[in-house]
Amino acid sequence: MATQTSTETETPRSAPPGPPREPKAEGAVMNVFSHAFLWLWALMVIVPVVWVVITSFKTTREIAADPLGLPAAPQWDNYVSAWTNGNIGSYFINTLQVMVFSITGTMLLGAMAAYVLARYEFFGNRLVYFGFAGGMMFPVFLALFPLFKTLDNVGLLNSYPGLILVYIAYSLPFTVFFLTAFFRTLPTGVAEAAMIDGAGHYRLFFQVMLPMAKPGLIAITIFNIIGQWNQFLLPLVLLSDPEDAVISQGLANLALRQGYEGDPGALFAGTVLAMVPIFIAYVIFQRQIQAGLTAGAIK
């Protein structure tokens, strides 16, 4: 809640009152209409989120009987319950454990493949490129069951290494697609100069090209962090032990349990806890996040 208001005050309100608007009827009507509509949409985003934060401080009785009211006294118990019974804390740690490796792996393998595909001519280059890019079209649930069997056969089902490898493999299509385009835009002169100075292919990649590709790497890293943090289907199928659940899956389990244990306060407290780190990261990095998430679209 406090954080919510702080974003609002951050908005630039400094626009100096310019000269009066042109007295055009169309302009005036459109202005009122479009401003109203913009604010309506802003409220549609803010109200449900703020409301769930408020609801997370209510007793079960207050939630059911007085959905629009404020809690008589904030129920911090809900948060204690979400953290201890709901295991939100350990879901966080599980997710981090997976993502440290899956993000590193995605970025390393993705950059390697993209670099070679973008800068070297060889037989089969196009085939490999379209093989990766085509992966963006696959509906994930088509592969879920064969994937389940594949991991089961090598004993990686219900394990983090298995999930990490799957995260990497399923993040590669977009990562390779995006980074190939990015590596292509880098100037060739620098690479040639480095080669003349005697740098090998490996040194050229790690010491010259990677640093030059930093903006692209950051954008796609953010994209992958958000994508993997929010991943739900893959862990749902590949990690069956509720103790091992990652955050989205853990929340869904909590939602399911809430159904028969009847502790909605704890569920909403858990939801808020899962939202807080995303919210903080979003407010701090919103420019980079918006750029990163939409980057792939700008060719």
């Binding site: 479009s34 059911a64 493949a113 509906p139 649930f141 929340l251 939409t294």
Partner: protein
Amino acid sequence: MKHGKYPFILSFLALPVGLYAWLVIVPFAQAFQISLTDWSGSSNQFNYIGFENYANLFKDDRLVLPAIRHTAIILVVLPVVTIALGLFFAFMLNIGGRSRQGRIEGVRGSRFHKIVFFFPQVLSVAIIGILWKQVYAPEGFGGLITGALRAVGLPAPANGFLADKRFVLASVIAVLVWSAVGFYLVFFSSAMASIPRDLYEAGIVDGAGRFQTFFKITLPLLWDSVQTAWIYLSIIALDVFVLVYMMTPDRGGPDGASEVVGGVIWKYAFNKGEQAFASALGVVLFFAALSLAVVALRFGRRERIEL
């Protein structure tokens, strides 16, 4: 430059390509293969039965046909509404202000709006599902909309919006639009930023109003982005499942009123043990996505305007 090129290429491609082939390509290929069998998924026994599963798909009027119908509705509504709202908001926030001495800029507070509108995009589907399930909940469970309707004295569906056959699909689509609009707002904004300002200024000098500016200048120049957005949104629409899984009764209910293709694949694969049938439906979905993309790229292409 030639020296050691191939060993290098091989060493860089081996791991990513190997991993990708093992965990993505092969499972997808297996799904195609499974779709031609009668495999249940649990035993090792199966026979090849040709295209029987595919023929049976279109006889299943309890799950598959309603799911195809609902997915088709989402496929039309989600891209149209999201792109229309995204374009409208992007235009207002970037160009619509236009007041201060003829300079082109967004309406006031546009940075704030962009931050707010985009926020749902970073929330996980699990969070969005829990959030909106409660917003739509029936009165007795503290739903926000039902509570608000009661507060102003309007009728609300007795069992909430998600347990009501008339509203459940529309409610799910509304959440999809809600979470997607911010992304396309930012997406179209960055495309609009590349349109030279003098084009607008010339338009204004010639007396173009906001409508004309939008339809005659902005939209034609954004056509490529609209096309890309349409492909993205179509793929999202075809893959809708997790929200339905999280929010609706019986994961597609009530009474099948929100069954979607993804959910039916899930039910056949993991609840009913009819792996082959599920895979056939998945293959159909894959070709639907593929042909949509091809159609969008082929026929959506207009003459490009060089700037």
